[in-house]
């Protein structure tokens, strides 16, 4: 069994276990809400997915699984996280044409790349659907929360497509330039990670210090964007970079744990008291 896979998965499981503990503790003290219950459900799914990965690596290493329980687990965690975001931002009405088009084109391009790399048509097409849906939800949440200005959102979109373009170029350039283009893609991906994780931490601190629920919503939107960016980088990386991306994914999950708890703490006092009485 690969030691690094074990370590990164264990780190992620510790983070998720901590998230479950924090959320359950919050529910005990101040009562549960649909957002918090969905959050616990989503991270339990994520936790089980990691456990399953470790067990598969230990018991059935190097087994080709075209579509199995692991794919269902990934689908579950993406859809539950997307549902959680829908629950948080369902009240905000916005026009979302550009975001929808971006999500569809990006998901299609990403799925094509996955198929080109792995050759697993069934798993990758299905993965494109649920991951694309998650991307769509995160992108519209970012718009609805007004966490980033229009210019910055366009810049992020351009960066995302530049990464896809760089990865696609690897198939067409002469062998001498392959490594250069590949490294360029990694540089772009990790610029995005550093940018988004820094922004997520800044927004989280602002949300904790402030009283506004809107600030907390912004922090959630940025946190989830950081998560999806790290997840995407993870799926597009290889070797050492894969483990680095996996570690950043755990970091963004930790930020999300605090984001969701902070959002729950910023609830109107009447609601909190009513829930506490009921629980």
């Amino acid at each position: 069994m690969d030691v690094m896979t074990l370590i990164t998965n264990l780190i992620q499981m510790v983070v998720l276990g901590f998230g479950i503990y924090k959320a359950v503790r919050h529910m005990k003290g101040k009562g549960g809400s649909i957002v918090l219950i969905f959050f616990v459900y989503a991270i339990i799914c994520y936790f089980l997915c990691d456990l399953y990965t470790i067990a598969t690596e230990a018991i059935m290493p190097n087994t080709r699984i075209p579509f199995g329980v692991d794919a269902v687990a990934e689908m579950g965690e993406c859809l539950l996280m997307a549902s959680l975001l829908n629950a948080i931002f369902r009240e905000n009405e916005e026009r979302l044409f550009l975001e929808t088009v971006f999500s569809i084109i990006y998901s299609l391009a990403m799925t094509a790349l996955w198929i080109a790399w792995s050759g697993e048509w069934t798993k990758d097409i299905l993965g494109g659907f649920y991951f694309g849906y998650f991307i769509y939800t995160v992108v519209i949440s970012l718009k609805k929360s007004h966490a980033l200005s229009r210019k910055l959102r366009i810049l992020l979109g351009v960066l995302a497509f530049a990464i896809i373009a760089a990865h696609s170029l690897v198939f067409f350039v002469p062998e001498d330039y392959e490594e250069l283009v590949n490294n360029l893609a990694y540089v772009l991906m990790f610029i995005g990670i550093v940018w988004l994780i820094t922004a997520a931490i800044v927004y989280l601190v602002k949300a904790i210090r402030g009283d506004s629920r809107d600030e907390a919503k912004k922090a959630v939107a940025i946190g989830f964007f950081a998560l999806i960016w790290t997840m995407n980088t993870l799926y597009m990386s290889d070797g050492v970079m894969y483990y680095v991306a996996d570690f950043t994914c755990s970091l963004s999950l930790l930020i999300i744990v605090y984001d969701v708890i902070t959002l729950e703490e910023k609830k109107p006092k009447v609601l909190v008291e009513r829930r506490a009485r009921r629980s």
């Binding site: 649909i34 459900y41 089980l48 018991i59 699984i65 329980v69 269902v72 997307a82 549902s83 829908n86």
Partner: protein, 220 residues
Amino acid sequence: MIYSENILICIAIPLLIAIIFTKRSTRRFITSFILGMIICLISAYFSGFIKFVTGTSMDDTAVLYSPIVEEILKMLPILFYIVVFQQKDDKIFIVAVGIGLGFATFENCCYILSSGASDIAYVLIRGMAVGIMHLVCALLLVLGLSLARYFRVLAIPAGIGALAIPTVFHGLYNLLVSKPGVSSYLGYTIPILTAVILYIPYRKVMNEEREELIDYRRTK
């Protein structure tokens, strides 16, 4: 070779007759129990078909694909019950428990008939692990579906997401017990541990409801 259909008929007939003489929740439980056994048989057909199509071995099919098939088939009647009859949570829980137990009972019957029941230790482990595992999976599934029901916006992704947890739990159990040794012992203990973890909050809720009922009667 065993004749699973004949075993099903043999177990189901007295239960079907019992439905006539019972009422409400007992009738609901017996019906869902029979349904659970039928689902077990159908999922065996499906798993056999997937084994044939993918060309994987019997063991690999049981580990990799059977959990998905079984959990989807278990979800369908519960989903039908939730969507069509719009019942309360406690009634849905009875149906889920019935389906889970019916499934586990029929699977255990077929397994014991095919491989013998002479070793009492193994029979106990089988009953404690597989029986409880199907029950826990059904409870996890109905918990997720109830959540998805209350969460009215885009319930379909939430419902599919809710299916993932019992599927991974089931897959993890099948994977761990597929190899003898430490992993199988871990696999056998996971369902019991989860049942205990689920029982503690359930018991707390039940006690609170009972106390509320007593208070209500006193005030009356």
